[in-house]
């Protein structure tokens, strides 16, 4: 930008840029490694197809847009729907009020079943009552282990966050950890807080907490770095989500710390990091299974009157540990985005 900036030059810039891009493409800029070409194809799990009459199921979650975890839940639900000849209506909103409107929307559409997450159970109480009076079966998944029976849900599929945290705490003890850092990427999220509480319960060392802004990766990285510098005794970083764990690995090297990284939840980059050894282990609650079982259970109820857990006990999908010893088996599925 100099004194001679001129309106006419504006037309020039995009032309040059497009030409440059075209030239680069023509000049054979294809990458010889990585990329789509190296990826092996693979369809989602499929187990034949039911011949039962078409039914409609709504899955309403508290997913924030663009989160890898919920994408896996949805894929599981879709796989069950495809197999069971079900039309799946998926909707989500992190705001509890909006989520309850989405459940109302499903009731208005007269669906044959609703699967719902109970991150904020009180906000959903009213609308779940309405579903029941409309004779629509409702099952719970993922969040709400302590509330699903109170709210009169038929079944529940998920992991007890506290139990998962406790398991992770025990694992840290076994690894000889003295001081760990629990990184919370969303301040005020009940499930995340329960995980840290669970770790604290069984962990015999000291557990510190840090809050980071999950929507801004550089800020996550610098905050974890700052915490590791502030407290050099920390020997384990516990992340509560796969993307955060991957960022934490960089923070550890930036801070010149010797801390190891462990995490809750998986995605395909994370399994790679476990095989490479940059991440020690992950506690998997098998989100695919949660979505799959929730939808499949509604089909079973409609066609055979079955209840998993008999309406008394929840069906636990985790905690399952993934570390170097079993990562190869899991990685295959994670690469497809289903674990």
């Amino acid at each position: 930008m100099d004194r001679s900036s001129h309106p006419r030059s504006r037309r020039f810039v995009p032309v040059v840029a497009v030409a440059a891009a075209a030239a680069l493409t023509l000049a054979g800029c294809s990458s010889s490694s990585g990329g789509k070409k190296s990826e092996e194809g693979g369809a989602n799990a499929s187990a034949g197809k039911a011949t039962t009459p078409r039914m409609t199921v709504a899955l309403v979650t508290h997913q924030a847009p663009g989160d890898t975890f919920w994408d896996i839940v949805r894929k599981g639900a879709q796989a069950a729907a495809d197999k069971d000849n079900i039309k799946l209506i998926y909707s989500a909103d992190p705001n509890a009020g909006t989520q309850s409107n989405l459940v109302q929307n499903a009731i208005d559409q007269k669906v044959d079943g609703i699967a719902v997450t109970l991150a904020k159970p009180d906000a959903l109480k009213g609308v779940i009552g309405k579903a029941k009076s409309a004779n629509i079966p409702v099952v719970g998944l993922n969040s709400g282990l302590s509330d699903w029976k109170k709210l009169g849900l038929m079944e529940f599929f998920g992991q007890d966050e506290t139990v998962a945290g406790e398991a992770l705490g025990n694992k840290l003890n076994a690894l000889g950890s003295k001081k760990a850092l629990c990184v919370i990427q969303e301040q005020g999220n009940v499930g995340l807080t329960q995980r840290c509480d669970g770790v604290e319960k069984t962990f015999s060392g000291k557990l510190e907490r840090a809050y980071v802004n999950g929507t801004d990766a550089p800020s996550v990285q610098s905050t974890i770095t700052a915490k590791l510098k502030q407290d050099s005794a920390i020997d384990h970083v516990v992340a509560l989500g796969a993307p955060i764990a991957l960022i934490a690995v960089q923070s550890v090297s930036d801070a010149g710390s010797k801390a190891k990284v462990a995490t809750f939840d998986l995605n395909k980059e994370l399994t790679g990091a476990i095989s490479k050894g940059t991440i020690e282990f992950a506690v998997d609650q098998q989100p695919y299974l949660q979505g799959y079982l929730a939808v499949d259970s509604l089909w079973l109820y409609k066609n055979n009157g079955n209840y998993s857990g008999g309406g008394e006990q929840p069906v636990l999908t985790g905690p399952a540990f993934v570390d170097k010893s079993n990562v190869d088996v899991v990685a295959k599925f994670a690469a497809k985005g289903t674990r």
């Binding site: 504006r10 789509k36 994408d71 550089p218 700052a226 510098k229």
Partner: protein, 358 residues
């Protein structure tokens, strides 16, 4: 920060549009007052106050590598805050910058991965997309006369949806694939996400880019015709047009500069973290805007500097990381952040009031 000392030339006071360029007050005031009346002085003092506070409260801050970490956090905000500030001086507003960063990173990643191209192809395509978004924002604002708040709110929502839907459509997942083993990645990483060793301290390259961009922006704003145009279109669009300032060009190009900033930080994120989650970036636009406002730019336009936002971003990074270095109870984190920022803004305001009242 040598730029703050430029007190003499008359150009740097926002030239009022029209023939009455100066009413004579500027020349008569003593040097001291003129320096303190600069838009960046308040924020400079605020930043110093916050810095000194944390030097005392948080011992790890005294370490050089901690400062490098704080500067890194500030730079990733600051690189976008500078063009956002210029745009604000030009009288407009951009809410789409935060998700724009992610759009850019997603574009680069998906184009190189899906077409199995050298990553530089993706980088250039992302630049075109980012400048295009800026052009669209600017063009809509100029052509329709709608407030930029509304136009960019629209773009913000569109980009949020497109980021998610296109990523899911193309990759089958909501995050992009890892491109770290592809051709050109290491080169691009050197440009956008490497570190330098300075006296045993690892400093991220974004810090240097940030300061370089600030220096260029400051020079453009204070010493070039384009800088005058920016002040003029933000001060009074109609009289600016009357004296021959190309209003449409200036506004559209300012939006495109924000696009450039978003592209740069997007590339940093991509080459620093290898993959991008499509839902990120929401809410960061407000931090960019606060950085510019704390840095002394008026929300109404026509007043501000390019150096002020540097201190604005620094203050944000300093407070955010300082709280962690101090080891305070993290439950209060956001509240601390808010209180410290308000405090800093009040110091800023007080200095400006005290100095301009005479």
């Amino acid at each position: 920060m040598r730029m703050t000392q430029h007190a003499e030339p008359a150009v740097k006071t926002p030239p009022a549009p029209g023939p009455k360029g100066s009413d004579g007050r500027t020349a008569e005031r003593p040097l001291m007052v003129r320096v303190l009346a600069r838009p960046e002085v308040g924020v400079f003092l605020g930043a110093v106050a916050v810095y000194v506070f944390f030097l005392i409260a948080a011992p790890p801050v005294r370490d050089g590598s901690s400062m490098a970490n704080i500067l890194y956090q500030s730079s990733t905000l600051g690189i976008v805050t500078i063009p956002v500030a210029l745009l604000m001086i030009g009288g407009e507003f951009d809410l789409s910058a935060g998700v724009g960063v992610i759009t850019s990173a997603l574009t680069a990643s998906m184009i190189s991965y899906q077409l199995t191209m050298n990553v530089w192809v993706g980088v250039i395509a992302a630049l075109i997309v980012s400048l295009g978004i800026g052009f669209f924002n600017g063009w809509m604002v100029v052509k329709t006369g709608l407030p930029s708040f509304l136009v960019t709110l629209g773009t913000f929502l569109i980009l949020q949806g497109v980021n998610l839907a296109v990523t899911k459509m193309v990759t089958g997942n909501v995050a992009t694939d890892d491109i770290s083993n592809m051709d050109g990645f290491d080169q691009a990483r050197k440009v956008f996400a490497s570190s330098f060793d300075i006296g045993g301290v690892q400093v991220k390259i974004t810090v240097f880019w940030w300061l370089l961009f600030a220096a260029i922006a400051s020079w453009v704003l204070l010493r070039t015709k384009y800088g005058n145009w920016t002040f003029a279109v933000g001060g009074n669009k109609e009289s600016a047009r009357a004296v021959g300032v190309p209003v449409a060009f200036t506004k559209i190009s300012l939006f495109m500069l924000v696009g450039f900033g978003a592209w740069f930080v997007g590339m940093h994120q991509l080459f620093s973290f290898n993959t991008v989650q499509s839902g990120e970036g929401v809410g960061i636009e407000l931090i960019y805007i606060s950085g510019a406002v704390i840095g002394g730019c008026l929300l109404t336009g026509g007043y501000g500097s390019a150096i002020g936002p540097v201190f604005g971003a620094f203050m944000f990074g300093m407070v955010q990381q300082g709280i962690v270095y101090a080891g305070w109870n993290p439950d209060w984190f956001k509240a601390f952040l808010g209180v410290m920022l308000l405090g800093a803004v009040l110091i800023n305001l007080w200095v400006q009031r005290a100095m301009t009242r005479r």
